[in-house]
Point group: C2
Amino acid sequence: MTRWLDDDEQRTWRAFMATSQLVNEELDRQLQRDSGMPHTYYVVLMKLSEAPDRMLRMSELAMELNSSQSRLSHAVARLEERGWVQRRPCATDRRVSWAFLTDEGFAVLAAAAPGHTEAVRQSFFDRLTPEQVRQLAEICEAVLGKADS
Amino acid sequence: MTRWLDDDEQRTWRAFMATSQLVNEELDRQLQRDSGMPHTYYVVLMKLSEAPDRMLRMSELAMELNSSQSRLSHAVARLEERGWVQRRPCATDRRVSWAFLTDEGFAVLAAAAPGHTEAVRQSFFDRLTPEQVRQLAEICEAVLGKADS
DNA sequence: CCATCTTACTTGAACTCTCAATAAAATGAA
DNA sequence: TTCATTTTATTGAGAGTTCAAGTAAGATGG
């Protein structure tokens, strides 16, 4: 006894999927073109830059990024090859790796940020009213299960 | 002179990115697990099932899916291997390929649809009020550039 | 103290997507 | 006609993601 989507839901669902795809693709293209990295890597660098001492355990980082450990592991391996991130062993628990944002990684992030932010504005915020921005936060947080509103 | 995101925008942006990722991953996992296909393939079958005679030119299909021709070409190649879609030459323009949804493909789609719909409800609509559903449609359509509201 | 369970992370293979290159047919201009 | 351009679609290589399996080290408990 499937409860199919009604017309409003259909409309919303298709629009949401299309938007999600469009925005992700635009950002990926912009970052790849202008900074030579996919959006996922940008977010990794971003999270690390905000962390104390610019470092985080792999598992914490994965958690904060809503990423699988596997994906993160592969990603950090490639970021390490580029010298943007460094893995450092943990003194107290030898299973743990710390991911550390290098100066070079920080510089790359700093160089990428303005263009990325501009892209986010152009493809997203410039098309919304402040009221819609507020509504969207509540909507997304509801979907994410933040017991908020 | 970068216009950085303010706090409201930050909050919305992170929530939107997280939601987009979460929902996509949940749907991909559900479809992969229960029907052995990624979400992208499901959408291909869906579009074809809605088309007259269950067939569409590759380029039309790509357009409607907001997909690159390359991506679609690869996808249809694999759907064809499974016997779910068939490519048929066009009589009047020999550059054109029609993608045709086979009976088997239709059956697979029909079998996948209830579980998929249930997943969409659980991970999305069940967490939103009707008012939010309406708001979200407007927001997404604004981002997509549908000169609507 | 040692066997077992759990945690943290990595690895490899299979798969999908992107981008650039290619091919082939239609279009259009000289 | 003929040759350049545009349209339609495919292909292959490189890159990223996923899933399942594997490694190593800390925690548990008899």
